[in-house]
Amino acid sequence: MSKLSFRARALDAARPLPVYRRAELPQLTDCGFISRAVPQMPSGMDKDEELEHHLQRAMSAQQVFRERKENMVIPVPEAESNSTYYDRLYKGQVKVPKQLIHVQPLSLDLEQPDYDMDSEDETLLNRLNRKMDMKPLQFEIMVDRLEKASTHQEVSLAEAKRLLNEDDYLLKSVYDYWLRKRRNRCLIFQVKQENRDGSTNHHAYVAFRRRTEKMTTRKNRKNDEASYEKMLRLRREFSRTVTILEMIKKREKSKRELLHLTLEVVEKRYQLSDFNGDVLKTVALPLEEKAVYCAPVNVNNSSRHKTNVKAKMQKNQVSMREELTFDPTRPKNRCTKWERLFPPQRFPGRLPRAESIYRADVNQYDFHSSGEDEGNSTMVAQTPPTSDDENYPDGVFIFRRTDGCLYLSPRWDGGHVDIQPLHERHFLTKLSLSPDWMGLSRRRTGRGGRILLDRASCSLDSLLNQLDTYPGSWTRSRTVYPNEPVDLDQKLLMNSSSIPSLSQALKNIQTLRRCCFRPRPIQNQRITDSRTAGPSVEDRRFLDTPGSAGGITEEQYYSHQQQLMKMKKQQLEQLQYNEAMSRATAPLDHQRNQSHRSPESTSRTLDSVSAHFAASAVVSTSPSAQDALRPPKTTGVPNCPGASRSSYSTSSSVSGVGLLSIPKQQSQVGAVYPTHHHNIRPSAPPPSALKLATLAAKVIPVSGLPRDIDEPDRQLNGLSENTQPMEVT
């Protein structure tokens, strides 16, 4: 024993333990003493129960006998296994499947009622069955539904009727019986549920409480939520897919049907020997019209797409022009930014740049007529690509075909589109409103129901203007003023012979644009010899309908009228003198402007050139400077800040638009003021006019007085001033 005074090392689970048989170690007698060095391991039992009599007895028995003795086992309450009716109760036999049983996770279980009929119910059922046939399952389903519908309060008979779709008598009997039997306690027994308020925390019969959130970590719950949402989305998308597939199916079916029908038609025609389509034509006569407008619509779809692309290409340039009117000092790149922020569509009051249909459009849309005006289309092809952006200046108001509308192809009287007497379209008109005026004009209804008055200048304008001074002396008449038609091609030819190629190209564009200005059927525009100040549509006036009168005041209207008058006069006068010279210098002018000349140079040009061309040159600098690609023929008027900026559409702006869209304008719209007009200011070049020019040239105006470009009235003044120096010079 004294040998064991040392302290035994702790048992190391990683250390190998040699295994001996007791017989091999006869000297090991007092090992029990040593083994106490090994710490006792808890048995893992409840301490109270560890001491229980039977357990202790059983354990000692095991220690002693190394096996269980029958009388040493722990006694338990007895169990019997002699059920006599088992075989009757559990009917049928089950074969063991070869494979291991695998339960499908989402096996669609037959929804069976939880309620099981008892003998009492059976009595009722038997009684009921004397009158009618009722299966026990049916009864159970009824009771089950009633039970599940009622919580604390039984469902009413009315509710029961809704719940159970049964015969009234049957329902009543079962309902009454159920009500009697139930007496406020559930007939489907369930393990007591916890109350969520925690009052049942220690109720003995409450079981299977929900675990609080501690168990599921937040992360997991989030996952649950996310996956639930994903499932929802998945479901939605699947149902959408189903719809799409159904539609595809429908479409394909229709296609097949169409094919079959076409085949049938062909066969029938073949049988009838209708090789030239006569029979078909007669048969399809009532349908033909429809077919006519169906086809263009289809064509239109593709061409519209093209147009949109073009419009997009053009977008930036348009925006720059717009921008110019707002903030002259803004750099180019910022302009585009601004444009992106406020696309032109955002301004409902904005004017269409030109409500016209170009030759290109005509060719695209009206393939019926495309063969007829081949010459024109080739001209279109010859036009430089720079014209592209100008071809679609309408923006949101771009012409779009509407389904179901019949678009007739233009009627060509002769071989040439452009030769159409103006008098067919314009009538001598007298305005009875305050700015009395008389002249050629035509009335049309613009977009939004506004009434537009297109004015045309003609050789009689001076005379008419004089007549204007006698108010009331004219009655409206439809007198036709015949004008000399001029062959456009001839003119072009003539031009090309005398001016450089660029200017010729520009002229081409302008010429083309002229015919594009009007709504499509009206291809004809009266063009007279520019030398004799041929009449051209110079102005479109808004006569705002009362409903949309908007912000045009009478004064504005009046002042604008005056300006227009002046311009007309000047045009007439100047043009007569300087036609040839202007023709030669105008292109030069444009070139200069395109090369970003300073305003001084512009003014010098103005000096040297006739006033009427100077006017056009000055104004045209802005667009051309901004964008060399842009044809410089446009007058400055459309770029007048106030015009496009003002919330209402002033007539000046309208006229500007009109001018913009009318080619050859520069030669015709010589902005020379008639001397007899009171508005003439003999002052130096007005700042705003210079400003316009300089803006275009990206140079700060030399003598530019800062002007509030936002002010419409100012703008109007500016407009008038704009043209003034031209006359002076």
Binding site: R9, L11, A13, A14, L17, P18, V19, Y20, A23, C31, I34, S35, M41, M45, D46, K47, E49, L51, E52, H53, H54, L55, A58, M59, Q62, Q63, R66, E67, N71, I74, V76, P77, E78, A79, E80, S81, N82, Y85, L89, Y90, V94, V96, L100, I101, V103, D116, M117, D118, S119, E122, P136, F189, V191, A204, Y205, A207, F208, R211, K214, N223
Partner: protein
Amino acid sequence: MVEIVEGCRLPVLRKNQENEDEWPLAEILSVKEVSARKLYYVHYIDFNKRLDEWVTSDRLDMKKLQFPKKEAKTPTKNGLPGSRPSSPEREVQNGTARRLIPSQPGRKRKANCGGTDEDSQDSSDGIPSAPRMTGSLVSDRSHDDIVTRMKNIECIELGRHRLKPWYFSPYPQELTALPILYLCEFCLKYLKSLKCLQRHLTKCNLRHPPGNEIYRKGTISFFEIDGRKNKTYSQNLCLIAKCFLDHKTLYYDTDPFLFYVMTEYDPKGFHIVGYFSKEKESTEDYNVACILTLPPYQRRGYGKLLIEFSYELSKVEGKTGTPEKPLSDLGLLSYRSYWSQTILEILMGLKPDNGERPQITINEISEITSVKKEDVISTLQYLNLINYYKGQYILTLSEDIVDGHERAMHKRHLRIDPKCLHFTPKDWSKRGKW
């Protein structure tokens, strides 16, 4: 005549296994009157609760009646008369038993009856709180009230068998008054009458537990049931299991558990023999939560089979495991027996390695068997195999141990065949849910 109230203690007549009369001391837990006769619910002191029963007054030895002490009458926290059984102080004379008593030899218990058990439970906080949410067993019994301490179901009919429950089970209260509670043998639904069961069986087409069969050899099959996916069955299983497991708690839902149901096949179907539940994720290396062999199948080796199966699962998972504590008396005996046999099987199978004496580490035993290291040590101690010899620990196999083992293994016919197990462990932690 003195009135016998709850908390009184007196000797009560009962028959022991040898059918001899005994008069063990018992505590009156409840009194009721049935057809003008008083019945007393008695708990035999130092006997397991499963032997508690209703007795007539003629089995009471009124001469030795002890009234409860004053404090015993004070209501417990639950408002119910507290009447925890507590063992009287006693000397443990048995040397072998002494070894089993954990390191609290001088633990004093209240000799008198009644009163909450203060020394063993930390119920001093006074605020009843919900039990821990992991695991399936309650070791803290401070919330036991008189209701749960008394059996509430008289008899359960399950298939061919009629079972006498051992403990309280929270079946719907309406059903507790019935003389017999009927259970569907396959879906374990409880029904109030034979007629109802009959009706139910026309609708219930289950003939095996509603899960995947992961093991089959001979007539023995194991089915795996997810406590979240198959709530109804899991709850029904828990309800009947609670009838035979004292420490099992049904406080929380069955979501975090898997249930492995062992069945025996006959042409009528796959009859439940026993089951064990297992936490999907255990933080304490538990590989078994509750384990039960139904009474009709007890003492026939099924319990050991269940245990063996649970360790086979752990082997597949590559983990060591241990049953959740506390063990019941029967549980302890079964596990001890299984551990002993398993370890002895290994030790006796060790062959001398080229002349060297065979040796093995505890860790190796643990790895081979998936039995947790602590359980290996405790078993070795229990078998008295560890000795200290020549400066090192050795394992010695005595003749009686070897003989006893061989005899036991000879009787052990039912074994798990790992080849028949088709089980892929799931990583439940990655699922985010049970």
